[in-house]
Symmetry: C2
Subunit: 225 residues, 2 copies
Amino acid sequence: MSVHDKNDGNNEAQDTPDFDDDFQGKLDDLFVWRRDVRNFRTDPVSDELIDELLDAAALAPSVGNSQPWRFVSVEQDERREQIRGIFASCNREALEDYRGEKAKLYASLKLAGLKQAPVHLAVFVDTSTQTGSGLGRKTMPETLQYSTVLAVHTLWLAARARGIGVGWVSILDPEEVRAVLDVPDSWELVGYLCVGYPVEEHAVPELVRQGWQDRDNAARILHKR
Amino acid sequence: MSVHDKNDGNNEAQDTPDFDDDFQGKLDDLFVWRRDVRNFRTDPVSDELIDELLDAAALAPSVGNSQPWRFVSVEQDERREQIRGIFASCNREALEDYRGEKAKLYASLKLAGLKQAPVHLAVFVDTSTQTGSGLGRKTMPETLQYSTVLAVHTLWLAARARGIGVGWVSILDPEEVRAVLDVPDSWELVGYLCVGYPVEEHAVPELVRQGWQDRDNAARILHKR
């Protein structure tokens, strides 16, 4: 049964699932072991699995139920090469802000992902969508972009649960990516995802392991007002 | 064992978890049964549970591991009343765009959430954070906001797995909320969350059930390039 079958109709006939302690513990494990993957095996990911991931993404929350995410599978070698070219150019500029070898190391790891990953998904938000009739986004129009991020994260978790890794590449010029992929003007790039089986599984972020950035206690404080 | 204990140190001593078919199915159920909750029971949610949710949120992915999310628990009656006032004012303006009773109905449901929910969490992004040294966000600075959205979604799923509902309120003027909550100028509102035990559990979004907006096939297409 696909996740969509489960979601059709009303739930009169459906049992409320029991999310027991065992599931809660495994969900925490999923959060711990989800990684931003940079090193991929080149084995293909089946179309069926990609379909399952898109089914999951479609269940993400969205403002006014606008479902504004648009997924583009980048398959042509020439376009992938152009994307890598955009990355290389943006990365050169970004690296001018850093001293030392460390930043260059991480950048090279990301580029490796763009070369090895069997699946490339560019994720856009359709800023012109009328779906949801604009409900809930007058004062905070950026909730349309945020809804798309929620779909990316849903896909990411569904992927990790199936042993598939996702790496989010943000060192790209969004307008240039849009042009290379020939999508409507109203589509705005939210993220570019490398997808494939990871070379290794790990519980600790690579940026922590490499000494770039550890956990930040400021992010864990509950401020009270 | 808290999720953070699991994530400390390296994983040499940790077993890679087995996310089997049973877990994958239950994770799909979680995506299906997660709801944007509008009707809350007024029973309190324990501090321990809120702590668990913040632990989970802290595991979210973030650009350059910047962890820019900042959670504010809004506890004072006077401040909550001011937030409801901001909502009422923004909602009046938003409703001018709609005809008929439908939009008014949904708006009133959201307001009910702001009155009933025992826990209010305002979620900000610290746009001035130096954590992560700016890695990965030069060409797409909005990834800082997106990272905060990923933390919200992680909290949301961890909550639902524990039977706790979350409702995301976006009909608010972000600057006014910032002023009421007396947070630093560099903090920008990403979302305002009502948190508590839901009155009902459901697999179908309320906006679908009420006929506002059904599933959009455009969101499920895999475009190829």
